[in-house]
């Protein structure tokens, strides 16, 4: 059974203070790893897809990286509007089902 574990559960940063979120996964065969952002009471908003170890993707202050066992979401010089819960997910072998982690709740204080 696919497993996804995210850490830390919660992270408080000061504006401008860079940090990283971790997503560890155990899957039978990686078919991609997805990062989403979720604001309170809203649906997951797609950020990145990574398919192979060594791959990196960037969007504004966010950069996602992937190794064979984990993925990191690096946040550089975050702003208060980056406050959200960040979710990672992996598809099952059929691609039908995403297994999500518990998420990291990020708070960026001004």
């Amino acid at each position: 059974e696919d497993q996804v574990t995210q850490s830390p559960e919660a992270l408080r940063l000061q504006e401008g203070e860079s940090s990283s979120l971790n997503c560890s996964y155990t899957v039978s065969g990686l078919r991609g790893l997805f990062w989403y952002r979720q604001d309170p009471g809203k649906g997951p908003e797609f950020l990145f897809t990574l398919y192979s170890a060594g791959e990196e993707k960037e969007k504004e202050r966010l950069k996602a990286t992937l190794t064979k066992k984990e993925s990191f979401l690096h946040i550089t010089a975050p702003k208060p509007e980056d406050s959200a819960t960040y979710l990672c997910a992996v598809p099952d072998p059929s691609g039908s089902r995403l297994t999500f982690g518990e998420g990291t709740q990020l708070t960026v204080n001004p």
């Binding site: 997951p44 797609f46 059929s94 039908s96 089902r97 995403l98 297994t99 999500f100 518990e102």
Partner: protein
């Protein structure tokens, strides 16, 4: 930019009543999904749907649940007899392809069962 839409945004119902949650997936997408998120818990897969039939369903998706694509644009989730534990956010998602394509999520319907 195309997006998944869901109605209603909030549904309140009495235990034992039937509810239908509606979704309009992105127009050129072929695969449709329902997930739920109980307050404070992680997002959980319910069911996937392709070519007018269920592709996969989770153990949560029992006989009380059904899905349908009644026309060319809507995708619905029906809960026949709601229970208190069905209270959750329900998210619809769609993707062009199944195997590795990105699933795009709607804003969700908050279902409250009293």
């Amino acid at each position: 930019e195309p997006e998944v839409t869901q109605t209603p945004s909030h549904q309140v119902t009495q235990m034992g009543q039937e509810v239908i949650l509606r979704c309009v997936p992105i127009s050129n997408h072929l695969y449709f999904y329902w997930y739920r998120q109980i307050l404070g818990q992680k997002v959980e897969f319910l069911v996937s749907f392709y070519n007018n039939e269920i592709s996969e369903k989770s153990e949560i998706f029992d006989d009380q649940f059904s899905v349908e694509r009644p026309d060319g644009s809507n995708f619905t989730l029906k809960i026949r007899s709601t229970k208190l534990e069905d209270s959750a956010m329900y998210f619809c998602a769609s993707s062009r392809d199944r195997s590795t394509d990105t699933q795009y999520f709607g804003p969700g319907t908050r279902l409250t069962v009293l």
